[in-house]
Chain length 309, copies 5
Amino acid sequence: DLSKIEDSKPYLDSPSKTWINVCGLHDIEKLKEIWQYFELHPLIQEDILNTNQRSKIEEYPDHMFFVLRMMSFSEDTGVLNVEQVSIVLSSNSVLSFQEDDFPIYEPVLHRLRSGAPRLRNHGPDYLAYALIDTIVDHYFKVLEKLGDEIEDLENEILQESDEDIPQKIHALRRKLIFFRRSVWPMRDSLNSLLREESPLIDEENKVFFRDVYDHLVQIIDGVENYRDMALGMLDMHMSQVSNKMNEVMKVLTIIATIFIPLTFIAGIYGMNFEYMPELSVPWAYPAVWGIMIVAAVVMLFYFRKKKWL
Amino acid sequence: DLSKIEDSKPYLDSPSKTWINVCGLHDIEKLKEIWQYFELHPLIQEDILNTNQRSKIEEYPDHMFFVLRMMSFSEDTGVLNVEQVSIVLSSNSVLSFQEDDFPIYEPVLHRLRSGAPRLRNHGPDYLAYALIDTIVDHYFKVLEKLGDEIEDLENEILQESDEDIPQKIHALRRKLIFFRRSVWPMRDSLNSLLREESPLIDEENKVFFRDVYDHLVQIIDGVENYRDMALGMLDMHMSQVSNKMNEVMKVLTIIATIFIPLTFIAGIYGMNFEYMPELSVPWAYPAVWGIMIVAAVVMLFYFRKKKWL
Amino acid sequence: DLSKIEDSKPYLDSPSKTWINVCGLHDIEKLKEIWQYFELHPLIQEDILNTNQRSKIEEYPDHMFFVLRMMSFSEDTGVLNVEQVSIVLSSNSVLSFQEDDFPIYEPVLHRLRSGAPRLRNHGPDYLAYALIDTIVDHYFKVLEKLGDEIEDLENEILQESDEDIPQKIHALRRKLIFFRRSVWPMRDSLNSLLREESPLIDEENKVFFRDVYDHLVQIIDGVENYRDMALGMLDMHMSQVSNKMNEVMKVLTIIATIFIPLTFIAGIYGMNFEYMPELSVPWAYPAVWGIMIVAAVVMLFYFRKKKWL
Amino acid sequence: DLSKIEDSKPYLDSPSKTWINVCGLHDIEKLKEIWQYFELHPLIQEDILNTNQRSKIEEYPDHMFFVLRMMSFSEDTGVLNVEQVSIVLSSNSVLSFQEDDFPIYEPVLHRLRSGAPRLRNHGPDYLAYALIDTIVDHYFKVLEKLGDEIEDLENEILQESDEDIPQKIHALRRKLIFFRRSVWPMRDSLNSLLREESPLIDEENKVFFRDVYDHLVQIIDGVENYRDMALGMLDMHMSQVSNKMNEVMKVLTIIATIFIPLTFIAGIYGMNFEYMPELSVPWAYPAVWGIMIVAAVVMLFYFRKKKWL
Amino acid sequence: DLSKIEDSKPYLDSPSKTWINVCGLHDIEKLKEIWQYFELHPLIQEDILNTNQRSKIEEYPDHMFFVLRMMSFSEDTGVLNVEQVSIVLSSNSVLSFQEDDFPIYEPVLHRLRSGAPRLRNHGPDYLAYALIDTIVDHYFKVLEKLGDEIEDLENEILQESDEDIPQKIHALRRKLIFFRRSVWPMRDSLNSLLREESPLIDEENKVFFRDVYDHLVQIIDGVENYRDMALGMLDMHMSQVSNKMNEVMKVLTIIATIFIPLTFIAGIYGMNFEYMPELSVPWAYPAVWGIMIVAAVVMLFYFRKKKWL
């Protein structure tokens, strides 16, 4: 009673529950055939095709319609991919639509093939739960990856390798904003699903949806956490930049403050006036050296007192 | 049963639904005539004329009154235009008022002319929905434009072309504040419309208003998103400015720190004391050069250790 | 049936509605007389005299008690004046109390004198509405003034005239905080007034109070807007200061970096060693000039590459 | 029927209301005696002794239990003192407990002694109100002191006396956080007290508790206000520091930029080459002076154009 | 009727309440045995093993399931340890699961051994309360430690020892985020527990859970407080860094501004022109000294006027 291609319509006549997963939304003709067979509301049809929706759960007279956002990190590029997934739950079937053929539901298929009793014995609402739960599990993987990125960035900041730290933090914040924006609305709609009664969702199975809800809350918590940390990292980086500039300034100031006055003294006795009595004094030259050394030492003490050294 | 000029009053006597769109609010006489014909509440009349209102939906005994803010980007100047649009829904007619004759409702007119069955068969509430939906569709275009502006600004920042970045970010933030301020109240009023019962809006058609509500939530989400990103861009710009200043400081410090002591040494032997034994030593001049080169090299090593080079 | 001095008590015996406006709260004796005549609750009496209250609306068995904060800009000094106004609505009269004799209600008086039908035909609740509406209209004027100040400040910032910009922004923010603080509580209390039933306010007239509520929401919106903009202006100013400092630093660095090494070279040949072979070479002087010019040009190219020029 | 020492127990047998104020919580034996007499719930007993509680109002079967935080500024040190005050209201008595013997309730005692009719004629709930109101009045005094401190700090900032401004702002913010934290929970619990029915609080006296609630809201408003202002002051101080640094940089840059090139020119003609044709030209010296003056004037014009002068 | 090892199952057959504490979650076999004996829901079983849950309270038909996060500071390293603790309350037993054998419940065991009457006479809900209360007491200790860390950091900042202050503040903020994240969800779930009716929790014992709730609110308050303070400390540190940089700049500017012009004058008279009339004037040398001293004094006065000295 399960198949991944859409030519499995005969099963529909059987009274048992059916799951049809449609990969790719380009073949409008086939989609329309399915929609007509299942008598989907026009707004559902529009929402399935319009692949830039917020996550939501909507009740229609005969269907419950879930729009979800599947998220995954592409291993190579580290880019956050997103794909709209629609699930239509009716009293005896589950329709799922996705943009491409990424094997989202692999774990569910695996459990079905291995004959998981819970999946087989419960109604289509449990199947819908299993699909949604799989998607939410993908969120956890994304969250973990984001956590790794934060850890990496924090280490980079601590090692003070300032290669584009602000850009990296900015990119991370964008990802977090994007991720949160995808997950947040799902929490709200699941929450109202839990509070309302629906003939399509068995009261006994609600505990499973509550579990999904808990996972979502945990994920959102984590994202908020990460956003706070990203902000903290920016503060830390900015204050490192300030500290470095401070240090640079101190070196400049110490060198300049010591040598500029000494150079002035040397300049004095470099003047060519005819009547400069000091010039002919035999001990004048060592005396000038003495004055210079004393001045430098006094400066150094002053800097030490100021804790610049 | 539709016309764009206001001399189409005969249709009103027919029992079918009527849509009258009034462009321009200067001809008070004609407006008053229409108002009296439709028996609009004095506060509605005031609100139509006072074109600086917040978006709102108000129920009056015989009418439902929508104030909306039409927004569009003027192609040439990139300025965000706003115009107040009022829609009065009664049991058998829809009145719409706009400030100038921008063809806001073109898509609805088009569908009506091409005989869209849904528009023709549903009641005036569906027509009102279609009008509002058209306005909300314009919001999406504005949002897209704002997204393009953000993308452009981000690229400018990454290329470190610091031509008035803060002013540009400020201008963008003002636009976002303004846009959000125009859209936000509409969400609230639509939300309460959805929760309350009204004889003027068919329970079956509420699903369409819910759709508009979803769109609005999506738009507000996007705006919040963009505001966060604008703030992030400012942080990024500020930290770029700090970094540049840091780099400038380093160059100054390196040059000054190397040459100021060397110049001091040269100054010493430029003094004109009669008794300076070093001056007559034959190898003194190359020795001074040696000391200077060693000092410079030590400095350079120090800077390399400090990672300033 | 209206008078501005308090010796107009005979009217009170007539069944028609009465409006008494008391200017100045110093003559406690007269106030007490009025309070006793109208049997005001002791807490109302306290609140009228204690002129530093938050705006609020309180229901007492026979009265509805409004505390409002009248705000106005003094034309000369640009200072934001505030004055507490109390309005007591009973079933057949409206009492209003104000601290001084600023002609707040001029527009209402004008309409009454010119025989406005709505004001004369509706009950005292409509009169109370008219008074409150007049005060809220004053808020709009204040808001407009604040908007002008923001516009001025923004222009000053754009023209980079840094005369005490932070202080001015700070003063503006204080005004906005103060204004919002005065208006905000009124919104809340009006909101609960609208939701509750009261024998003193006719259900039909509630639509007018809803209108006042809408105005308040619009004003608070505007204030929030302005606060956001004030914050944005501070960011803009701070980043201008950073930019200027950056520019100053660049000029210093360019000059110092070019001339300090050249001065060093000049210093070298200013030394008085007896054995400096270069000194007697005829082409040494032009050669040194050549070296100096090459060094300066190299530096300038470097700065151009760094985009400091 | 009032006494400040706890040996006044005979009064308790009389049916009239009784107020016992216990100062100091060290004499556990006596406390236990009182608690047993009044049959206080064990959790009440714990809460009275544990003097680091949040403000709260709790209903127990026979008692209403108030935990409040008395705040006062010590005149000498400017330190904000806090002390936990517990009030137990039963149907015919009020028990109040405080940590030390600060005369908190002096105003109530004074009114009781001078035979205030309201205090004597109303039930124990009115007495409880009077006690709480006294404590809230102390909050106003604290708020006023904090307002004075803010005013002082603002003046210090405007006069640019930078003696530890950040530390002072930080200390002020800590005080505000602490104050708000003490007052905030009381508002919430009073709010729920107002909404719920309790046999211990007469419906007619609720208007007095609503008055206390209004005062608390006003105080919290004020604190929020002050926190915003404290943040604004920090911004102002930081931007003053930036401005000063900018000014220091400008002076350094002007001096260095004018004199470094001139010193270079002087250095050139201080070189000891044998073949320097300029040296023997009679008008060379005044010519060099001329060049130097022209260079300096050009620089000064440049700085004026840049608005650095 | 209490034991800490899990071989104490015979007690379960007795009708009295039983507490079983399981330390360590690795021995799945034994866990499964217990779960089967107590007929725990599969989701409870999953949640016990999955030790990275948010705190929550869930009602199942026959059980109430608490997930808590035990927190403690390891004395040596100052690291914040966290451990998931699960408590399953049924009508006649309490099961508690923890990851390792940290003696969390020592105080409860102590009271049980010493025969505390309340613990022995109340039902298993009171025992569950006692366990939860013990965990919340640990939170207070953690909060205290965090308060100490803040105090230490503040002192470090005031003494201006800038050893990695930003990193330390960042680490502290991470701890606070982490702590709050662990405690926050528990407050929400306790709150809903208090509002709902459950057969497993005696109405009379709810007052104890309300007490725990109060403690949690107090802890969260404290954490928010500390987060505000941590932010304030960062501001203070950043402004100290700015101040220091300002001071460094001033010293550099004063020295450079005084000596660069003087060195220029010395450079002038170090030039070797043949025709420099000043050189042969006898009083020229002292005159130059005079000019230099006057220039330096003027500069110093200027700096004093600018308040740089």
